[in-house]
């Protein structure tokens, strides 16, 4: 794993760092996507026969954590392709379907996105195999393929589309500005394949719950990088004829956050159940936001400006939570897991 970490670190320094700022401003470039594909990162979870890297959960976590340190947008893109596209295809699609589709994703020839009304709150419906509705602010919204959770008379269905939908670019919002966001309209698009034909909601929640450790890996990458930057800045920057790191409030806040980081990171690589993952996510997202906020504050006015590379952590740490979960739903799920209550409804 140490070796893998080193490989990804070197890759990121070479391929991502030089363009990290332009990714924020202009989006992910073809070159970055190609270099990710070349390393097999776009198909990190896909089997090697399908052009993937065949990483296990730990390897995949390392990948996301390191990428997020260098560019949260890149990590999010890889997460979208793997956890929310390849993974459900492998899990619910026929062999034939995944063999047809996954190599396209892994090679970067095509890309996917996931439309989930449980998060967006948009009404997407399916009647027979025809999909209706509009979904707002979908990351990587210009993808050629789309997994959609749609409502049918018999409950939720999970379907795959490779044509018939229209994407309109959305304006930049809070986070992950390297990904382009679109509104996607489905009026009358027909599904290529139905992966889950009834009660898909529960299965989709499972996918998110199982992804909790990977979301945590991104959160830890963001928080960890923000802290590293805060520490080195505080060692350099002077105010009142002292280095910032010499002021107790700054030092004490940083040591608390660094302690948290180390505990969470070690825990991440020892995770062995979905429950473990969900517990980490509950803590890691909050940590990530606090670490980013602290780092921005330590950087003073400089932290406020895009060029410093700090404010994106502040934005992305919040956007990560909003785009991969829901405040109430996540905690209701965790209550089931930890308290054994079916539903904390009130």
């Amino acid at each position: 794993m140490q070796l893998l970490k080193q490989v990804i670190e070197e890759f990121s320094e070479k391929e991502i760092d030089p363009v990290a700022l332009s990714i924020e401003r202009e989006g992910l470039t073809k070159e970055v996507l190609n270099s990710l594909a070349e390393k097999g990162f776009l198909g990190a979870l896909a089997p090697v026969e399908q052009g993937g890297a065949g990483l296990d959960g730990r390897g995949y976590s390392v990948l996301l954590e390191v990428l997020a340190r260098h560019s949260p947008s890149v990590a999010m893109y890889v997460f979208l392709q793997n956890s929310l596209f390849i993974n459900p295809l492998l899990k619910y699609g026929s062999n034939e379907l995944s063999q047809g589709v996954i190599p396209l994703i892994a090679s970067g020839k095509s890309s996917g996105t996931f439309v989930n009304y449980l998060l967006t709150g948009n009404e997407i419906t399916i009647d027979g195999s025809i999909i209706y509705g509009v979904a707002n602010h979908i990351p990587n919204g210009s993808a050629q393929m789309c997994l959609v959770l749609a409502k049918s008379a018999s409950g939720g269905q999970l379907v795959l589309l490779d044509k018939g939908f229209k994407a309109v670019n959305d304006s930049r919002k809070l986070g992950f500005r390297g990904l382009n966001f679109s509104s996607i309209s489905f009026d009358g698009a027909s599904a290529k394949s139905i992966l889950i034909s009834e009660n898909a909601e529960a299965e989709i929640m499972k996918i998110y719950n199982e992804s909790a450790s990977y979301i945590s890996a991104i959160a830890l990458g963001i928080g960890g990088a923000a802290l590293d930057m805060a520490v080195s800045y505080a060692k350099e920057r002077q105010a009142f004829e002292s280095r910032l790191i010499e002021f107790q409030p700054i030092a004490f806040l940083l040591v608390k956050l660094i302690s948290e980081f180390n505990v969470y990171e070690r825990y991440l690589y020892g995770i062995s159940s979905v429950k473990d993952s969900m517990m980490l996510k509950e803590l890691a997202l909050d940590f990530s936001r606090r670490a980013s906020r602290t780092s921005l504050q330590v950087h003073g006015g400089y932290g406020y400006i895009e060029d410093s590379g700090i404010e994106r952590f502040y934005r992305d740490s919040m956007a990560l939570e909003l785009l991969t979960g829901s405040y109430t739903r996540d905690r209701v799920e965790l209550s089931k897991e930890l308290l054994g209550v079916e539903s904390a409804k009130y």
Binding site: H137, S171, Q238, F240, E321, L322, Y327
Partner: protein, 377 residues
């Protein structure tokens, strides 16, 4: 007993007027465009002046206008109101000529001012600045650099803090600074707009370079060498306005949650608790802000109380926007909440970071305790 929490009628009217103006003019689409494209709202500024909403001679009206403007859109609201930034310096310490030449055109909306204190190497530590004003014949020569200056590319002139003499000793680092009024158009002045701010993106922020700028003697404000104290006195006033910004931002976030709750009729207690906690914090911040302002506006400021209001309200703005956005999820992300969340962060940084406010509070209180004085006014 004459404690009275009611605002005078004319102030309440000013609040209503500001709220109406903001609701009518700061439309979501306009706010979004100015945010995305980092555009300064020239037209809105003119309109607000025309409507008589920018009045530093009437500080209570100004304070409530700040709160109401930021409640609807902090970036636009601040851009409009901060166009008079620094004017209190002349109000307090300017000569009649200076007031007439510089302050009055700003107050009637025909000119824009800026206050330039921060430098690349010194922000919190104001006494650490290195911009110099040196005497040469009958005038001064200004050399140095300023950083993160609001309005710098659109201002007609700046109030600049600079060293007129080296600090006499390590303990007296605050001595030897002066404030000069410097026209942006003068030879040797150059400005460079800073792009890519996290929030408050409609406001203009820039760095300024002074390269041998000639400054006439009559452009020095007050006494030579007392600049640091003038600036601190100014901050004691301006910080209550930052507190009001923060209260407005937090209220704006609560408005969004209330709207959501009202339409959804949700009975989830997790939402109710976020709502209740936010509302309580906002009301506490508001009362603290009004009390600090009440003292400032009767020329009897309590620096500790002002710093408490600034620090506490900024904290409230940040925590309320955060928890409301977190709760509302993608609905929040697609609403103005995401902008409020980004805009709130600056309140912990400008005009004294929260850390600096805490130091002011603690040091003032300990001093009072040592002297056996009343701890807070």
């Amino acid at each position: 007993m004459n404690l009275d929490f009611n605002l005078p009628e004319d102030v309440e009217e000013a609040r209503q007027k500001a709220r109406k103006f903001a609701n009518d003019e700061f439309k979501e689409e306009i706010a979004q465009t100015h945010d995305h494209e980092e555009l300064y709202p020239y037209e809105l500024r003119k309109k607000a002046f025309k409507a008589g909403l920018v009045r530093i001679d009437n500080p209570w009206n100004m304070l409530l206008t700040m709160e109401e403007f930021c409640r609807v859109d902090p970036g636009l609201g601040l851009s409009v109101l901060a166009s008079v930034f620094g004017s209190e310096l002349l109000l307090l310490y300017g000569t009649d000529e200076q007031k007439q030449k510089y302050m009055e055109p700003v107050l009637d909306g025909s000119k824009i001012s800026a206050l330039a204190v921060t430098e690349p190497g010194a922000g919190s530590d104001v006494a650490g600045i290195s911009t110099k004003l040196e005497t040469s014949n009958n005038e001064f020569l200004l050399n140095g650099q300023k950083m993160f200056i609001t309005n710098a590319t659109i201002a007609d002139f700046f109030y600049v803090l600079a060293r007129t003499s080296p600090p006499p000793s390590k303990e007296k680092r605050h001595h030897g600074m002066s404030v000069a009024i410097v026209d942006r158009q003068w030879p040797g002045v150059s400005v460079n707009k800073l792009k890519g701010k996290l929030g408050m993106r409609a406001t203009d922020t820039a760095e300024i370079k002074f390269d041998g700028v000639k400054v006439p003697k009559e452009n020095i404000i007050g006494e030579i060498g007392k600049g640091f104290y003038y600036i601190m006195t100014f901050f004691n006033i301006s910080r209550v306005y930052v507190a009001a910004q923060s209260v407005g931002i937090a209220q704006g976030a609560l408005d969004e949650l209330l709207n959501y709750a009202k339409n959804l009729g949700s009975n989830e207690e997790s939402m109710q608790f976020i709502l209740a906690e936010s509302a309580a914090k906002i009301e506490a911040a508001r009362l603290l802000t009004y009390k600090a302002a009440w003292l400032v506006f009767q020329f009897n400021p309590d620096p500790a109380l002002t710093s408490m209001a600034k620090y506490f309200s900024a904290e409230v703005a940040n925590s309320v926007t955060e928890s409301v956005l977190e709760y509302m999820g993608q609905k929040g992300l697609l609403s103005k909440l995401e902008r409020l969340y980004r805009d709130s962060k600056i309140t912990e940084i400008w005009e004294g970071t929260s850390e600096i406010e805490k130091l002011v509070i603690a040091r003032t209180l300990v001093k009072r305790a040592m002297q056996g004085d009343q701890i807070v006014k």
